[in-house]
Amino acid sequence: MRKALERGLLGVGLMLAASGASMAADGHDMLFGSLLVDQLEHGWRDGQDTVEWKAQGWIGGDVEKLYLKTEGEYVRDDTVEKAEVQLLYSRMVADFWDVQAGIRHDFRPDDPSRTYAVFGFQGLAPYVIEVDASLFVSEKGDLSARFEAEHDILITQRLIAQPKLEVSAALQEVEELGIGSGLNDIELGFRVRYEITRKFAPYIGISWSRSLGKTADFARAEGEDADSLALLAGVRFAF
């Protein structure tokens, strides 16, 4: 786990190193990079507190980019940890849309690690809704999917509310990972951040998540709640 995190951090470091821009000789083929740590937050919930992160960085030009996405959860009493890293090739296919393909690797101390092939799209839907949808095929051939959507509501120029929806589903049951078939989880979040600068914004929020169907049964069998409500405080920052 530690090694995995280190590897992840190394990747982030590389992104940072590349996040300066460089210009090709003709002045018009420019390479840029950016890293956004969208969520780095402490969650207070029944039972156990968590620290979660979610970040994505990219390097590339207007059409082609290389994306690194990572998210994970760290539980204070060390009972559960999970981390996920995706490395994706991303290509612009429409004004507002990129298609993405690559690999995902999950690190879990208590469960078997998994590697997945990833196919997805990311972009901006009408009504300025940011969408990130992915299809995963594990090394065992299991198919799963995840859909995320979020929208910024400006209360003032710097105080910004962000409702967010995340849904995951699977085609096959994967008992060893506690995944049932069908809809697995739904998570609704609402965060309010204050942009001290565009690149630094502390926030508070709430998040409600619920496991569904067989996934919920697996969770209960593990002694976890099927639904969970958390109060959040965190920081969003970018480089």
């Binding site: 002045g27 018009h28 950016s34 207007d62 901006l124 009408p126 400006l154 970018a238």
Partner: protein, 582 residues
């Protein structure tokens, strides 16, 4: 004098432009390009200077002379100097990658040599990377070979520019990384409730949904904010001052050397007589203000009679600050700085999705309907282009070629008592009884030399994806699209169709275009033409300068993002002339 102003004087900008440049009588000069720290309103920052100052020294030349300029690059990156608006041999034009001209490498010296074929107010700037934003710009004043047709007692250059503390590369990266990064004038929930109270909840919601459906932002007037706006290198505190004796005629040579900023320029209580646009004389026309596109120049005459100071006020169109200077009988005097006028938000009609705005009441803000079309050139409205049928009879204000207010119509200040923002890119907020210059007011002093009908029309769609900060011509980034090719001597019409919601100052190197603004034989000659959001503008051109000319949006970050192409005028040989240009 304020302390900050004193600091400015002590700083590097102090020599400008109180004296004539060292080049005054000199047809041969050396200019060095090097990094420098400059002080604006007491704040120090990085810059690149030509000839050790920002702006660069004013070059005063005489029409007909041959000048030699040796430019030495003391930077660690390539540089270049482009002579903006000059009729010039291609290789001397100074745009790397065009006409066989190559950038000046670090430590190298390049010798420019050219004969001045024109008189008037022009400017020069870097055409490499984003250096222009860092201070590489200066004025060129070319006196006519014969008698100066305009009488004046004083002659001042007024170079407007925008200066950022940030490295321009960082600015571009921020623009590429997050849409609206620099926009702190977006519509908020609070604005929504105000709008709902004013127009009704449903109308307000409908308006939001329409913009949201397009994934567009009506507050997107300027891509970059956080600028200090300068006059001759001085910030508003430093207050550049031009002296006069009451009763004198003062010629002000305005140059918009900004990287990104359109300005509304006025001198409260002092009407201006516009005598030249883009260096070329026009039939004198009175105006209280003008909207000033990046790269344009205007020469005006003012004649203050009173023994008092006047403020030269230049508000960027997003009203994120102002440039200010003073005309005064004695040093140290100041006049009132007028409050910034309201910032407009875009109308649905500023989008090329033309018809959308019509039936949804978003144009219902009253201030927009003022009289017949100011632009003329109605013949093109019918040249529809699929969805581009946005002739907008409803709006009426700024059909083709016109911007600002329509000819001769002073517009009431569009600030309703209920505090609603003025709606429409062209809503300047001109004071009642005052007149804003429109393109339709420009009438060339000399008759056009060539009145042939154009043999072909070149459609140039101004395109882009704001969300990604990709800017294009005809949907193609620079070097990804086909160059435009015309034969030597060919007469063409260039029709700009702006499909974006930003105004683009379109600049063609090497030749003047004739703006089709309703004039029949006195079309004004321009090197930069503003194409307002969602509008069409057309120009005529006699392609009499062979070369491989840059043709681009003069907003620097747009050009750097791809909004440029090659405009190739073939050599006047029999072989090239016979080429099929289908």
């Amino acid at each position: 004098m304020k302390l900050t102003a004193a600091a400015g004087l002590a700083g590097t900008v102090s020599l400008y432009p109180g004296r004539r440049s060292f080049a005054s009588a000199d047809k041969e000069l050396q200019l060095t390009v090097e990094a420098k720290r400059i002080v604006v309103d007491g704040v120090e920052s990085d810059a690149i200077a030509i000839g050790d100052s920002v702006p660069a020294p004013t070059l005063r030349w005489r029409e007909g002379d041959e000048v030699v300029v040796q430019v030495t690059n003391r930077l660690s990156e390539p540089t270049s100097i482009h002579w903006h608006g000059l009729l010039i041999q291609g290789v001397m034009d100074g745009a790397p990658g065009f006409n066989g001209y190559e950038a000046i490498g670090p430590g190298e010296t390049y010798t420019y040599r050219f004969r001045l074929r024109q008189a008037g107010t022009y400017w020069y700037h870097s055409h490499s990377g984003l250096q222009e934003q860092q201070g590489m710009y200066g004025a060129i004043v070319i006196e006519p070979a014969g008698r100066e047709p305009v009488r004046y007692d004083r002659d001042y250059v007024v170079v407007l520019s925008d200066h950022t503390q940030q490295n321009p590369m960082t600015v571009l990266r921020n623009l590429k990384s997050q849409e609206g990064y620099y926009n702190y004038g977006k519509r908020t929930l609070i604005d929504f409730f105000r709008q709902a109270e004013r127009d009704g909840f449903n109308a307000a919601l409908q308006d939001r949904l329409e913009w949201g459906d397009m994934r567009m932002d009506p507050t997107d007037l300027a891509d970059v904010t956080g600028y200090a706006f300068l006059v001759n290198g001085r910030g508003p505190e430093d207050n550049w001052t031009g002296l006069f004796e009451p009763g004198e005629r003062i010629r002000l040579r305005f140059i918009n050397a900004s990287a990104m900023s359109f300005f509304d320029v006025r001198i409260p209580d002092l009407p201006m007589t516009v005598i030249a646009a883009d260096g070329q004389f026009v039939v004198p026309v009175q105006a209280h203000e003008f909207r000033f596109g990046v790269g344009e120049t205007y020469d005006v005459i003012v004649r203050p009679q009173e023994d008092r100071a006047f403020t030269i006020m230049a508000e960027p169109i997003d009203r994120s600050g102002y440039a200010r200077a003073t005309l005064a009988p004695r040093p140290g005097m100041e006049a009132e700085i007028p409050p910034l006028r309201p910032r407009a938000i875009l109308a649905m009609s500023d989008m090329n999705h033309g018809a959308m705005g019509m039936d949804h009441g978003t144009m219902g803000h009253g201030a927009m309907n003022h009289g017949p079309s100011g632009g003329g050139h109605a013949g093109h409205a019918s040249m529809s282009h699929g969805t581009m049928n946005h002739a907008m009879p409803m709006q009426g204000s700024s059909g083709h070629g016109a911007h600002g207010t329509p000819a001769g119509h002073a517009m009431a200040a569009p600030v309703p008592a209920d505090g609603a923002p003025p709606v429409g890119w062209d809503q300047v907020g001109t004071l009642p009884g005052e007149k804003a210059l429109a393109y339709a007011d420009l009438k060339a002093f000399a008759r056009n030399a060539d009145n042939r009908e154009p043999g072909q029309e070149i459609l140039v769609r101004l395109t882009g994806i704001m969300e990604r900060y990709i800017w294009t011509l005809n949907g193609r980034k620079f070097e990804q699209g086909e160059p435009i090719r015309v034969a030597h001597g060919e007469r063409v019409r260039i029709r700009y169709v702006n499909e974006t919601m930003m105004a683009h100052p379109m600049h063609l190197h090497g030749m003047f275009v004739e703006l089709e603004n309703g004039e029949s034989e006195r079309r004004p000659l321009k090197h930069v033409v503003i194409v307002p959001p969602g509008k069409e503008v057309s120009v005529l051109l006699t392609a009499d300068e062979p070369g491989d000319w840059p043709f681009h949006c003069h907003l620097m970050y747009h050009m750097a993002s791809g909004m440029m192409t090659r405009f190739i005028v073939e050599q006047p040989t029999a072989k090239a002339g016979g080429k099929d240009r289908a």
